[in-house]
């Protein structure tokens, strides 16, 4: 046996050893692959039928079918909702909403703050203070008390007066 024959014999022997000891136990299902191939076959079949049509009426139908097939393919452009302009619009609307909420919050907060440090917003007439400070109120009350005291004194003196002697009428 020459070198080449020996070489080939050794190759075949080692290949048999490899085949006996190395087996890929693939348990993969190929159904998804078959399905994809069938889709491709279907599209090619349809394309061939459309191209072979010579009748004008059928040609119009062919164009309609082609247009429908093209529309059903996934579009490469972004969906409208993902367009940059829409993102900017959404951002602007969110900003306006936030600004409105902040403005309302500030308005509510400031509306409960006294405009003048000495004045108090009254919730009812009972709470209305007519005077700027309580010292004036107290002073007025003392004035009233004085008047009442004077009137009491005057009444007392009237009781003591002999009306039979004094008559200006």
């Amino acid at each position: 046996m020459n070198t080449d024959d020996r070489q080939v014999a050794e190759i075949l022997e080692n290949e048999q050893w490899l085949a006996a000891n190395w087996t890929d136990h693939e348990t993969t299902s190929w159904e998804h692959l078959k399905l994809r191939v069938r889709v491709e076959l279907g599209e090619r079949w349809l394309a061939q039928r459309l191209d072979s049509t010579l009748d004008p009426a059928s040609a119009e139908l062919r164009d309609q079918v082609r247009a429908a097939v093209d529309q059903s393919r996934p579009q490469s452009i972004l969906p409208w909702r993902k367009a940059p302009r829409y993102a900017i619009a959404r951002l602007g609307a969110a900003g306006l909403g936030l600004a409105a909420m902040l403005w309302m919050g500030v308005s509510l907060f400031t509306s409960h703050m006294p405009i003048d440090g000495d004045a108090v917003v009254a919730d009812s007439l009972d709470d209305v203070w007519l005077f700027e400070d309580e010292s004036q109120v107290d002073e007025d009350l003392f004035d009233i008390d004085d008047e009442i005291a004077e009137l009491s004194t005057a009444l007392a003196s009237l009781d003591d007066t002999d009306w039979s002697e004094e008559s200006d009428f």
């Binding site: 190395w22 348990t27 078959k34």
Partner: protein
């Protein structure tokens, strides 16, 4: 190993129907070649990209089957497409000129072992198979390619030489050296 050669008449009919775009014929082709092509490609590309490449192979077959010259070597045609896909993939991932022959097998050495564990968890492998896998990734790329094309593709050395654009003697020498190294490596690990 049963191959197309031993069932030539059956496959002749299948191929004729496939050229007519018969879906059932392509089902048979997928059943026969998907495991073999996957086994071949798995030694050149990451598992994560394997299914995409496999799908691309069969879609290319559908698109170009009309150009297949029915010379009885359908396997060679299928594995030529597979080899082209592997080369294209290597070119994309590594940039510039890339070929299976000149590629660094070490890149996929660790990946292949890990991806194999990941992809085939639950499947029992004998110790010898694991040793063969480990030894295979250590082989020079060209020797490994010849062994894989013979094992999965069941191609003749003439077809392999034509595919790799090398003389027949070079293809034989690569097979001889690679298989001897492989077997020796596995025996040494015992």
């Amino acid at each position: 190993m049963a191959g197309l050669e031993t069932t030539g008449l059956k496959w002749q009919a299948v191929i004729e129907r496939a050229r007519a775009l018969d879906p059932d014929a392509f089902d048979a082709i997928v059943e026969e070649f998907a495991p073999r092509v996957r086994g071949f490609l798995r030694r050149f590309v990451p598992v994560s990209e394997l299914d995409d490449l496999l799908q691309e192979l069969f879609l290319r077959m559908v698109r170009t089957i009309a150009t297949y010259r029915d010379d009885g070597r359908f396997e060679a045609w299928v594995f030529q497409i597979a080899r082209n896909l592997a080369v294209d993939h290597l070119r994309k991932t590594r940039g510039g000129m890339a070929s299976i022959d000149g590629s660094d097998s070490a890149q996929f050495a660790g990946e292949t072992a890990e991806d194999r564990d990941e992809a085939e968890s639950g499947i029992e492998h004998g110790e010898t198979m694991n040793r063969i896998e480990a030894a295979l990734v250590q082989l020079p790329e060209a020797e490994r390619e010849v062994i894989l094309l013979r094992h999965f593709g069941r191609l003749s050395f003439e077809e392999i030489a034509r595919m790799m654009n090398t003389p027949l003697g070079t293809a034989l020498a690569r097979a001889h050296r690679g298989l001897a190294r492989l077997r020796s490596s596995v025996d040494d690990q015992r």
